[in-house]
Subunit: 231 residues, 2 copies
DNA sequence: ATTTAATTATGTTTTTTAGCATATTTCTTA
DNA sequence: TAAGAAATATGCTAAAAAACATAATTAAAT
C-alpha cells in the first residue's frame, strides 16, 4: 500500500455522486482524502474488521468477496469509479466482506468519520448515497435468486455475460477484457473450481465460447443468454 | 383491502424512524398516510409493478418473496413495525419482490412521492432510511452465502432459529409462535417442500424438535445452532 | 533455461438434492 | 357432518453437483 495523494483529479470530477458537495465541503474533503496504491492480491479490508474508510477505485480492479463455508464467494468485481466500503461506514460497524486488489490498483479513500459527516450534513449527498445503496440492494437480492435457483450452466453463463457487460471485450469484439483465473470464475458463480473448468470446456465443445488459457472469447452470446435465463 | 384511516396512533409513535419529522412534515404526512387492512394471502404488491407506496406493518404478518425459477423464495417475513417497499420508492422504480399478507394484517401506507419528498428535504430522515437500508443490505449478503453454501440441514436449522428470534415462542418457552406451512419453511430455506418435510421429521427423530402439525417446538437449540453453523 | 509450483483439463466415484409416487392426515367448505 | 381439497409423511429413483484422482499444460522463480 503506497500513498500517492495529490497526483489525481479531485473526486468530484470523477464520479457524479460527489458533485453535490459544497465548496466548503470540498475544501474539507481535500484535507481528508488520500490516493492509495495497492499491489496485486493485496488486502484492502477484511470481513469483521471495524470500518475505517470508504473508497472509490480509480484504476485497476478490486474483488469484494466473503469467505463462505470452505469456499470464497465473490460479491462484486469493481471497475474504475465504483465505490466500496461505504455500507459499513454508514452502519458505523465492521465491514461484512473482504476487499482485495485483483490487479495493481489505485483508489481514493476517505475516512469514515468524514464520509458520515458529509452524509449527515448534506441532504443531497445523503440521498445520492442512499440511491446507490438501493441499487446495490436490488442487485444483491436478484443475485441470491440466481445463485440459488439456477443450475451450474446457467450460473456460469450468467457470470460470463456479466464480465462482458461490466468489463467489455477487446478489439476483436469477442474476447473478454477481464482475464480471470477459473477459481475466481467459480467463486463468482457459486461452484467448485473443477466444475467451472469442466463446464467452461463443455461450452467450448458446444461452440459457445473459445478458450485460450485465460482468454475467453464469447462466440454465441444469444445462446449463453438463453442458458442463463432458463437456469 | 380495506381502508381504516384514523383509528391508529400516528406513525411517529410507532417507529423511531419517523421521530425525525418536523411539525410541518407531520401535518402533511397525516393527510397522505392511510391505514389499510389486507386479508390472509392478499397481494400487497407485485414484482415488476411500478412502486406507488411504501408501508409499515402495524399488526399481522407479511411475507416478502420473489418468484424464482419454478420456486418461490421468501426474502423476509415482517413483524409489526417493520417497513417494506421503501427500496423501490427510493430507486424510483418497480418493486423487485412480491409482498403478500401471511395472515390478516393492518399497515400504514404512504405514497411514494411523499416518502421521497421527506427523504429529500429532511436530512435526518434520509439518514435514518439509509441506515435501515445498510442493515437490509448486510442481511441480504449474509443470506446469500447461507443459502448457497450451507447444506439442507444447515439451512433448515437456520430458518427455525430465525423464526425463534424473529417471532419468539409461546408460554411453554419452546413452541414457535409463528405457525407456518412447510411450503413456506421450504421457500425460506431454499429447498423443495418435500425436503423441508423430510428434514424436519429427521430433526424430530433426532430429538432436536417436536412436531405437532404446524406447531414446531425447539427442544435442542444448541444443537440446531451447531448444525446451522457447520453448514 | 530449467526447475518448481500453480493452474487447467478430464475421468471416476460419492454425496446431496430434486423429482416422483402414494398413503395418511388435516383442514375447508358445501 | 360428509366430501373434497390441501398439506404432511415416507419411500424410491434420477439428476445434479461435489469430491477425489491424476495428467497435462502454463506460469513463476531461480
Amino acid at each position: 500500500m503506497t500513498n500517492l495523494t495529490g497526483e489525481i483529479a479531485p473526486i468530484w470530477e470523477l464520479n457524479p455522486l460527489w458533485e453535490t458537495l459544497t465548496e466548503e465541503e470540498r475544501t474539507r474533503v481535500l484535507g481528508k482524502i488520500e490516493v492509495v496504491q495497492y499491489t496485486k492480491n493485496e488486502m484492502i479490508h477484511s470481513d469483521g474488521e471495524e470500518s475505517s474508510h470508504m473508497g472509490m477505485l480509480i484504476s485497476g480492479k478490486i474483488r469484494i468477496y466473503k469467505e463462505g463455508i470452505g469456499q470464497k464467494q465473490i460479491i462484486r468485481l469493481l471497475k474504475p469509479y465504483d465505490v466500496y466500503g461505504y455500507r459499513a461506514c454508514i452502519a458505523n460497524g465492521p465491514y461484512n466482506s473482504n476487499a482485495s486488489a485483483f490487479e495493481d490498483s489505485v483508489v481514493y479513500r476517505l475516512q469514515r468519520d468524514e464520509f458520515v459527516r458529509l452524509a449527515k450534513e448534506n441532504g443531497a449527498f445523503c440521498y445520492g448515497v442512499m440511491r446507490m445503496m438501493a441499487r446495490d440492494l436490488a442487485i444483491s437480492e436478484i443475485r441470491t435468486v440466481n445463485l440459488t435457483q439456477k443450475h451450474i450452466r446457467g450460473r456460469l453463463a450468467e457470470s460470463l455475460l456479466h464480465l462482458v457487460h461490466n468489463y467489455g471485450v477487446e478489439e476483436d469484439g469477442q474476447t473478454l477484457a477481464m482475464l480471470l483465473p477459473r477459481e475466481d470464475l467459480a467463486n463468482m458463480s457459486n461452484m467448485t473450481t473443477s466444475n467451472a473448468i469442466r463446464t467452461l470446456s463443455q461450452f467450448a465443445q458446444e461452440g459457445l465460447v473459445a478458450i485460450n488459457g485465460r482468454r475467453i472469447s464469447i462466440l454465441n452470446e444469444k445462446e449463453l443468454e438463453k442458458i442463463s435465463r432458463l437456469g
